[in-house]
Symmetry: D3
Subunit: 253 residues, 6 copies
Amino acid sequence: MNPTARADGRALADLRPISFDVGFTHWAEGSVLARFGATHVLCNVTIENSLPSWLKNRTPPQGWLTAEYAMLPRSTLTRSPREQRWPKGRTQEIGRLVGRSLRAALDLSLLGERTLTVDCDVLQADGGTRTAAITGGWLAVALALRPLIEAGTLPAAVLIRQIAAVSVGLVGGAALLDLDYSEDVAAEVDLNVVMTAAGEFVEVQGTAEGAPFGRDQFDTLLDRAAAGIRDLCALQTRALGGDAGVVMRSLMG
Amino acid sequence: MNPTARADGRALADLRPISFDVGFTHWAEGSVLARFGATHVLCNVTIENSLPSWLKNRTPPQGWLTAEYAMLPRSTLTRSPREQRWPKGRTQEIGRLVGRSLRAALDLSLLGERTLTVDCDVLQADGGTRTAAITGGWLAVALALRPLIEAGTLPAAVLIRQIAAVSVGLVGGAALLDLDYSEDVAAEVDLNVVMTAAGEFVEVQGTAEGAPFGRDQFDTLLDRAAAGIRDLCALQTRALGGDAGVVMRSLMG
Amino acid sequence: MNPTARADGRALADLRPISFDVGFTHWAEGSVLARFGATHVLCNVTIENSLPSWLKNRTPPQGWLTAEYAMLPRSTLTRSPREQRWPKGRTQEIGRLVGRSLRAALDLSLLGERTLTVDCDVLQADGGTRTAAITGGWLAVALALRPLIEAGTLPAAVLIRQIAAVSVGLVGGAALLDLDYSEDVAAEVDLNVVMTAAGEFVEVQGTAEGAPFGRDQFDTLLDRAAAGIRDLCALQTRALGGDAGVVMRSLMG
Amino acid sequence: MNPTARADGRALADLRPISFDVGFTHWAEGSVLARFGATHVLCNVTIENSLPSWLKNRTPPQGWLTAEYAMLPRSTLTRSPREQRWPKGRTQEIGRLVGRSLRAALDLSLLGERTLTVDCDVLQADGGTRTAAITGGWLAVALALRPLIEAGTLPAAVLIRQIAAVSVGLVGGAALLDLDYSEDVAAEVDLNVVMTAAGEFVEVQGTAEGAPFGRDQFDTLLDRAAAGIRDLCALQTRALGGDAGVVMRSLMG
Amino acid sequence: MNPTARADGRALADLRPISFDVGFTHWAEGSVLARFGATHVLCNVTIENSLPSWLKNRTPPQGWLTAEYAMLPRSTLTRSPREQRWPKGRTQEIGRLVGRSLRAALDLSLLGERTLTVDCDVLQADGGTRTAAITGGWLAVALALRPLIEAGTLPAAVLIRQIAAVSVGLVGGAALLDLDYSEDVAAEVDLNVVMTAAGEFVEVQGTAEGAPFGRDQFDTLLDRAAAGIRDLCALQTRALGGDAGVVMRSLMG
Amino acid sequence: MNPTARADGRALADLRPISFDVGFTHWAEGSVLARFGATHVLCNVTIENSLPSWLKNRTPPQGWLTAEYAMLPRSTLTRSPREQRWPKGRTQEIGRLVGRSLRAALDLSLLGERTLTVDCDVLQADGGTRTAAITGGWLAVALALRPLIEAGTLPAAVLIRQIAAVSVGLVGGAALLDLDYSEDVAAEVDLNVVMTAAGEFVEVQGTAEGAPFGRDQFDTLLDRAAAGIRDLCALQTRALGGDAGVVMRSLMG
C-alpha cells in the first residue's frame, strides 16, 4: 500500500465526512444521527427520574449515565442474526466503553436522582461504530441536558467536559485516522482513543492485530488521534448551534 | 369527540402524510424508510442463497420469505428496555403477520433456493407500526427483487401481487383511517387490514377493545380500509419510480 | 373435493361432536376439559387476590384476566419438544388471543383486586385448539365465578357476556365450519371468529393461506361462523347445568 | 397421630385407589393416564427412529429411552408459574429418575436405532407424582412396544423387566405406604423405591426430612414398599389385558 | 476382577487418601479444599444476614442453608463447556442433595436471620465429587460457625449433628468403598450414603446401573458405607484441630 | 497518601509476591495456579483436535486459541451469584482480552487443526485478576505445547512470543505497579498493559476513573509497566524449569 494514498482519496490524517443530524427522532430527550462516512449511528438519550438500585439512598445523591450499543441486523454487509438470547461479548463491551466515556463528561453529583440512558443503535456500519457512538452520544447528552440547564433545573456545571472519540491504525506501516471497514480489517494496530476537547485522555484501547508494536509507533498514533479529536470537537460545537451558548459556556467557563 | 374532526386536522378517511425513503441504508438488497406521519419504520430486505432446514431438498425447490419486527428502545414516548432474553409476544406476533402478508406477494416456487429476510425496525412509533412495516416491506421486497428480474436471474412472475396494509378503527362511533397513537388508545374497535392492489383480502385482524361490534360497523370499517389501501398502493408504485417498469409490468401483466 | 361431503361425514355447517367435561381437575377454581372432536383442551381457571404490578393502586380498583396456552409434547401427530427457553411466537400469540377474548366476558371494574389466570393446555390436537380453548375457557371462567356470585362476594353483573369461538375455512371453494387438522392444512382461507351469544364480534382473524379472498367469500364465512357460535353457546349453557341460574340470569338479565 | 388410622381411612399398608386409563390420548405410541388416588399423571410414549448424537454410529447399535416430567400450572393446590426459562432442579431430577428407572426395563441393545421418549405430565398432584409416573410410564412403554413385538419388528426379549415404583414414609413413627400430599409433608422420612416384579431394587432414594433414621426403620420401610410394588405390578398386568400375552410372556419366559 | 484387589492397591474397605486443606481461600467465612484421592472439591461457606423471601417474617425466625455445586470446565478428563444458559440437571440435583444433607447438621431455629451458602466447586474430578462436597462442606460449615459460637453470638447447639458422606458400589460382585472414576463407571450398583457420626441415615441414594440388586447386596453395601463414614468423621474432627473444643463439645454434649 | 509508601510496604515499582504453581490440576494439558499476592487464578489449557466452524476447511489450515474467564462465587470479599443465564459484560470482556493477548504468542498457521482453550478461573480475587490470568495463561500454554514440540508433533516455532501482563495506576498522583484491590478502587487512572518479553505492546487499555490524564502521566505509567513485565517474564522462564530449554530456545532463537 502506498502509505500516503487511501482508497477513498483521503490523506492519512483526514476524517471521513462527518455530520450530526440533530433531532433525528423526536421522543428522546436528545437525539442525534451521527454519520462518519458510511457509518451511521443513532444516539438517543433518555432521562429518567430514577436510579439503579445500587445507587439509591446515597447521601449526597448521585446521578448515573449508562449506555447500550446494538447493531441492526442488516447494518452490515451480510446480515447478522438478532442477539435474542443475550448480547454478544463485543456488544456489551462497546456499551460499557460508551457509558464509561460519557460519564467522564458529567459531574454526576450535580445530576440529582436522574439516570441518563444513551442508546447507540448502528443503522449502517463501515468501521468506527464505537467512536461514532461516543462522539454522537456526547452531543445527544448535551442536547438532552440543555433545556434542564436553561430552565435552571440543573446547574450548567453538570456538564464538565466535552468528549469525542476516534480510531487510528497502522496500515502498511502508515498511521491512518478514522479507519473505514476495509482499512480496519487490514490494520496491523488498532487504537481507539477517547479524549476531551482539552486534549486529555479518557480512554485508550490499543490492540496489536498482528505483530506487537513499539513505543514510537504508539506515540505517532496518539498524536494523530489527538488532532482528529480536536476537529471532531469543533464539529460537535457547531452542531450545538447558535443557542448552544449556555452549554458551551459551562464547558469554556 | 366530534366524529368529523381529528386532532391533527385530517378527515376521517385521510391517511397521514406518507413517504418512502428508498435506499435509506445501502448494504441491504432492498431498503426503505417508511413514514406514516410520525411513525417511521426502517424496512431492510436481505436475500440469501440458503433455505431454512425444513425447506431444504424439496422437489421442486421452493424459496422462502421471513420477517422480523422490533422497536428501538426509545422509539416510544417513554423508553422500553431491549428484549434481551426473548422477544415479547407482541413482537413475535407482528413479525409473523408481516412475514405471512409478504409471502402472499410472491410465487415462492419461482424464487429458487433463496430466503428473503425482511427486517422491520421501528425508529419512531406513533401508532400503526405493523401496517407501515407491511407497506414499506412490500416496497423493499420489490426493490430487492428488481435487479434479479432485470438481469433475468428471476422471472418477473415471481412477484405476483402488490400488497399494502392499513389500520382503521372506531373512535367515538366514527370510522377513522390510519390511526395515530392517540386515536389508537381511544378506539373501541381496532382493525388491521392487509389487501392486494386488486382489492382482495390477505389478512384481516379485528379486535373489540371495549364493547363487541356489529356486522354493520365491521362492513363500514372494511370499506374505509379498502379505500386507504388503494391510495397506499398508488404511493408504492410512484416510489418505484420511472424505471419500475419491469416490476410493475409483472404485476399488471 | 366434493364441497358437500367431508371426510368424517359431517355437513359443511356441522360442528364436530362437542363435549365439556366439567370439574376435570379439582384444585382449580374452574376446570373444563373441552373436546371438539379429537381436539381436547384442558381449561383451568385460577383466581388470585392479587394484581399485576402495572394495575396496582388504581382508583377505582380494576381486576384482570390473563391466559396462557400450551401444548403437551405429544398432543400432536409427531412429538414437539417442550418450549424450554421461551414460548414460541404461535404459543404466545394464542395465549394473548384467549386472554383478550375472555376479558370481553367480564366487567373488570367489578372484579375487585383479583386476577383470573386461564391455563389452556392442549392434551390432544386435531385442529381448532384456540377456538376450543376460548369456548372451554369461558365455561371455566363462569364456573370459577359462580360460587363467588352465589355467595354475594361478587355481583352477578361481573359476567357481562357469553363468549364462544369457532373456526371456519374455505376448502375447495366450500365454506366449512369447525375444521379438523386435515381440513385446516387444505384450507385456502382460515378464519377464526370470537363472538358473543348476542351475535356481536369480539375478534375476527382471517388469513389467506393461498390466494387472497374476496368480500363475498368473507361474508359467507362470517355467516357460517355466526351459526356455529349460536350452537356452541347453547352447549355451554347446558353444561352449566340446572343450577346455572345465577350465572345465566346475569347474562340474560 | 394414631399410627393405625389414616385420614382417608386406609390401613398403613394400603395403596390408594389405583387406575390406569389406557389409550387416554391417541397420537402417542403408548398412552396411559395413571391415577394414584387424586394424583393423575399422563404418560405418553413416543418412538422415533433416531438416536441422540452421542449414541450414533455405535457397533452394535444401541437404542435409548429418555423421560421428561412436568406439572401443569394448576395441577397443584395453588398455581405454579410455567417453567419458561429452564426446568427447575426438582423437575429435571424427577425426569432423570424416571428415565433411569425405565431404562432398566429394556434391553437397549435389542431396540435398534430407536429412541423412546416418555413424557410424564402431571394433570393433578396429591403426592407421589414420581412413583405414579414410573408405574404408569412402564405400562405406556409396554403398550408402545407391543405392536412392534407382535409384528416381529422387535424381539419380545427387548422388554426384560416389569418395573413399578411406590413411596413409603414414616409419619408419627408409623410406616405408611403410598403417601398422599398431606402425609408427605408430615413425614419424618420419605423413601421412594423402584423395584422389579421379581422383587429386586432398581432405585432407592431415602431422605430424612427431620431427624436421621436408623437401620431398623429403614428395613421396615423397605418391606412395606416391596409389598406395595407387588400389588402395583399385578395391576399393571391386568391393565395390559387379555391380549397382553406376547408382552408378559417375554417377561415371564 | 479379583474382588480383593483394586487398581490403586486399596483393600475393598479402604478410603482413598483424604485431606482437608482448611482456609484454602481467605474471604469465605469457612473454606476447605477437600481431597478424596484425585477428587478435589473447594467448599466455601458464606454467611449472610438475610433470608430467601419465602422464609422472611416468620415467627419464630428460622435460618437457612443452601448449597450450589459446579465443576470447572477442565476438572474432568476431557473439557466440558461451561453451563452458561442454565445448570444441567445433574448439577442442580447434586446441589440440592448437598443442601438437604447439610441442613440436617443444623438447628435452623437457632440460626437467626442468617443464610449459609455452601459453594462446592470441583477443581479436579475422579469420582465421588458429591460425597467429597458434603464431607468437606460440613467441615466448612463448622469452621464458619465457630467464631460466632465462640463469641456467643450463636449458641453451640446450633450445630446439632456431624455429617459425612461416602460412595459404595458393587464392582464384579465385590462391595467397594469410596469409588474412584474408573471403578464408578464399572459399578453394577452405585450407592451414595449420607450419615451422622452417630450412625444414622440422612440420605440414601442407590441406583442399579445394570441388573437390579437384591436385599442382601444392599445390606452389605450399607454396612461398608457405615464403616467409611466413621473414619471420615474422625478425620473431620482432627481437621477442626486443637481449638475445635467449642464446636465438638456441642456435638458430643 | 504518601506516594512512596504502600499499605503492604511495597515500593511504587514493586510487584506483589508472585508464584506459579505448575501442574496444580492434572487432567489439563497445561495447568498453572498463578498467584499475584492474594489474587489466585487457576489457568487450565485444553488442546482439542478440532476447530470452530468458521475456521474449518481453510487452506492452509489454521489453529485457534480461545479463552474464558470466570470468578468463583466467593472469590470476592462478599459473595457474587453465579452467572447462570449469561456471562456478564465484564466477564466476557476479560475472556476476549485474554484470548486476544495469548493468540499473539502463537503462530496459528503452525498449530494445525487444533484449538487451545484457556480457562482462567479466579479462586481468590484481590485486584489484577486479568493480568494474572494472562501471565499465568501464557505459562500454561507453553506447558501444554512443550510435549508436542518435544515429540516433534509441532515445530518449536509455533510459540513465537513470550507474553505477560501487569496493571499500573495513578494513586494520589503516584504511579503504582501491580495494584491490589484497595489500590485499584482508589486509582485515578487504571492501565492494563500486555507486552512481550522483547518490550513491545500487545494490548494497552487505559481508563480515567476520575479526571482525564495527560500525555506525561501516560508515559510514566507505560514505563513502570514495562519494567514490571520484564520481571514477570523472568519469573515465567524460571517456572518453566531446567527442561524448559526446547520451549525457550524457540523464543530466544
